[in-house]
Subunit: 350 residues, 3 copies
Amino acid sequence: MGTRLGELVERFGGQLAGSPDVEVTAIASLERAGASEISFLSNSRLRTLALQSRAAALILSPQDDDAVAAGYAGARIVTANPHAYFAQAAQYLVRASEEPAAGGIHPTAVVHGTASVDPTACIGPHVTVEAGATIGAHAVIDAGCYIGRDAVIGDHTHLFANVSFHARCVIGARGIIHAGAVIGGDGFGFAVDDGVYIKIPQVGRVLIGDDVDIGASTTVDRGALDDTVIEDGVKLDNQIQIGHNCRIGAHTAMAGCVGVAGSAVIGRYCTFGGAAMVNGHIDICDHVDITAGTLVAHSIREPGRYTGYYPITRNAEWERNAALLRNLPALRDKIRALERALKALGGSED
Amino acid sequence: MGTRLGELVERFGGQLAGSPDVEVTAIASLERAGASEISFLSNSRLRTLALQSRAAALILSPQDDDAVAAGYAGARIVTANPHAYFAQAAQYLVRASEEPAAGGIHPTAVVHGTASVDPTACIGPHVTVEAGATIGAHAVIDAGCYIGRDAVIGDHTHLFANVSFHARCVIGARGIIHAGAVIGGDGFGFAVDDGVYIKIPQVGRVLIGDDVDIGASTTVDRGALDDTVIEDGVKLDNQIQIGHNCRIGAHTAMAGCVGVAGSAVIGRYCTFGGAAMVNGHIDICDHVDITAGTLVAHSIREPGRYTGYYPITRNAEWERNAALLRNLPALRDKIRALERALKALGGSED
Amino acid sequence: MGTRLGELVERFGGQLAGSPDVEVTAIASLERAGASEISFLSNSRLRTLALQSRAAALILSPQDDDAVAAGYAGARIVTANPHAYFAQAAQYLVRASEEPAAGGIHPTAVVHGTASVDPTACIGPHVTVEAGATIGAHAVIDAGCYIGRDAVIGDHTHLFANVSFHARCVIGARGIIHAGAVIGGDGFGFAVDDGVYIKIPQVGRVLIGDDVDIGASTTVDRGALDDTVIEDGVKLDNQIQIGHNCRIGAHTAMAGCVGVAGSAVIGRYCTFGGAAMVNGHIDICDHVDITAGTLVAHSIREPGRYTGYYPITRNAEWERNAALLRNLPALRDKIRALERALKALGGSED
């Protein structure tokens, strides 16, 4: 019960070299792919692996095709972006191999009478859906999720187990929220009176666009007065914290453990390496790449890559360097003194 | 069904300029507030926004009142700390607009016969309450929470969805624990025998005072032999980790992604910026502020602000600087050589 | 109903000085231990505390025994590694004091008919076990856990509340997964087409060995094509993120908030301080220790301790140092100019 290569090419394009009737059932790496699997070559340095691959079919670029065709006996799909083609074909094959989720509400789920659940949606065991919530067509809500009052889950969106999605928050279509994530918890907002914190109620929402992925155990806070906004196509990895009233621009991606403090506004097509941190009330323009482990303490107005982490060395070297680093002004002062002394001797520095 | 300004002033003080019968139903920002809403001005630079606001009423300071009164037509509540007043008024308005949670235990909740649940407490769907646990008056335990054996939840404390609150841990009154938080998981304690770790049972508790807020997905470990203690009024944001046997002093606040290793003792009225880290067995005195992204590797005995993060630059500059940073001793040695050479020439540095 | 010292010595070895019939019921610190408790001395500087301890028995080393025997009246167990002995004895005493979990499936749990649950396993309230999953002998699955399709939980492994353990993942024997952890969420894998991310299905698994501990709210992603592997004896603290296709070698330990990006391969017997970060596709050999707050940006081929965090100082000093740090090349250029000028004067640097 595989998928014909002809079906893939009809759906996703590409030039097929080989029989359209070859069937593939799964995806695999070049090394491991077997006679019913499809693989891909997106890095020309791996041509040798491609030549030796036992995959039924390969997806590759025109640049690699001649060299691979010379030695590889399977079918080939030639396309400008083999990695993207592979991703789409893989999604298609995985879907074909899975039983479709049977729509319906598990008998242990607690769904309020005023909630609107599309008949094609699937609500798992021990789920709670509060009053006025809306669950879209083909949405899947896995075991133990909590959907707050008047929240909206878009069509084809999938919440994995134990997600908490709070009142009035909204996610669009084709989204994925991984297990344990928390959407719409209160933002961290307080007034201070004589050193004591007084909570400011957080009455904004979280608004999430279409095609957004949110990682396991990631938290996105609701806005204080206005909303927190995650635009279309944003991809957030695991263990990320997004503070209240942030806006994350479309097609921006963040690796694990990133933190974004409240009211930061981040542009589109940005990337953040793991554990990068963004201070509050900062603006970052489109097309900015932040290296892993970097703290963004000021706004960034120009595209490009920005970095700020302490380079790792053997601990003994670090100790020597750190001792000097703690007192760079002393080094500078010595240089100034040398300059003065040299001048007194009649010397000059070009 | 709004709240009369007269009622706010009776309850929270302040000088009212305008009719006590004006009613407000909600809070909003200066820009967005409409004719049934109340806003506040705590930053004099926003006076222009205040003058243009369509809010029914403003909370503001004596310093700003004359200038605003000249042009703003709504009612004014004048008070020394408008931000704090706003926070209290906002809490009051939000509470007035919400249906009070009906006390009672949801039929799907599993509450052990020996647990003590106050009749005014509200236990949501799919909650588990183990033997001997105590749930205080007006406490709210949302869907999917787990309350361990002999745990104690104080009056008016609210646990959002899917919180895990382990055996014998205690939280006081008026606390908030956000979704997905874990209180009282085992501390990370092992003996090592020939490179292999042997778990040390963690038999201490977590003791949390009154008015403590704990963020979504934050974890606080139980003590090894003695207890982990979070004092009154502490505010922890999301994704924070507090190790076993820590003590966090009253009215200390930590932003998201902070980590505190085991047995650290932190004073009162401290603040920690996002992703700050505290090593284990460290003491930090009262009134210390730690900047975001800073690792506290030694005890701090004097109040003040402390910082230690690598400044962000364009990646190319970072590469140049980091190369030199890795070998600061070489720069220092060159300076020393210059000093010697200069001396040999008869020069002197002041 | 205590445990006889004779029983401990039979089981765990050591030389007993005192009556084998002395009974202890619990563990405690040197200061707090009372007449029915056992404590330990593993640090000779604490001898004074040991001499004053009211503990019924002490575990200590031959090196400390003479000095302590001179003044301490209780029983003594003398052993080469008192800390490890204490850990084992403590586990034994805690187990003896707990009611054994009654095997069985809570009536609110939802267990698929094709899942295999050992009759000695204990499945808590509101648990979901999907089709084909296997739960081993004496395994304990606490309230609210989710066990995916065809997942395998080994004998004597304990999942605390609200853990999400996804389809086809495997954990061996005697493991512990703390509350809120997520095992087997999708890895963060995308192809990019014209700036837009296309999800690559994550079809690998997470394979976890025996005697592995995983902390609260920690996340371990499933592999993309191949598997993510956590070897025997690994100990992960809370809030850790392990990316797809990583391999963590046996008996490696990581403190809280560590992040490991995808496809990193980490050796055996390594340690990682809190919030250390490891970039993707990096190799780290056995017996490497990474200091807290350090980013590992390149592979490490030699054992030893490695460090890279910015040292904390008072904020004002940090500002002065950071300003110079941002432009180390300017300092170096000044030194070069001085060298040239000195040479022109006829001087020489040794």
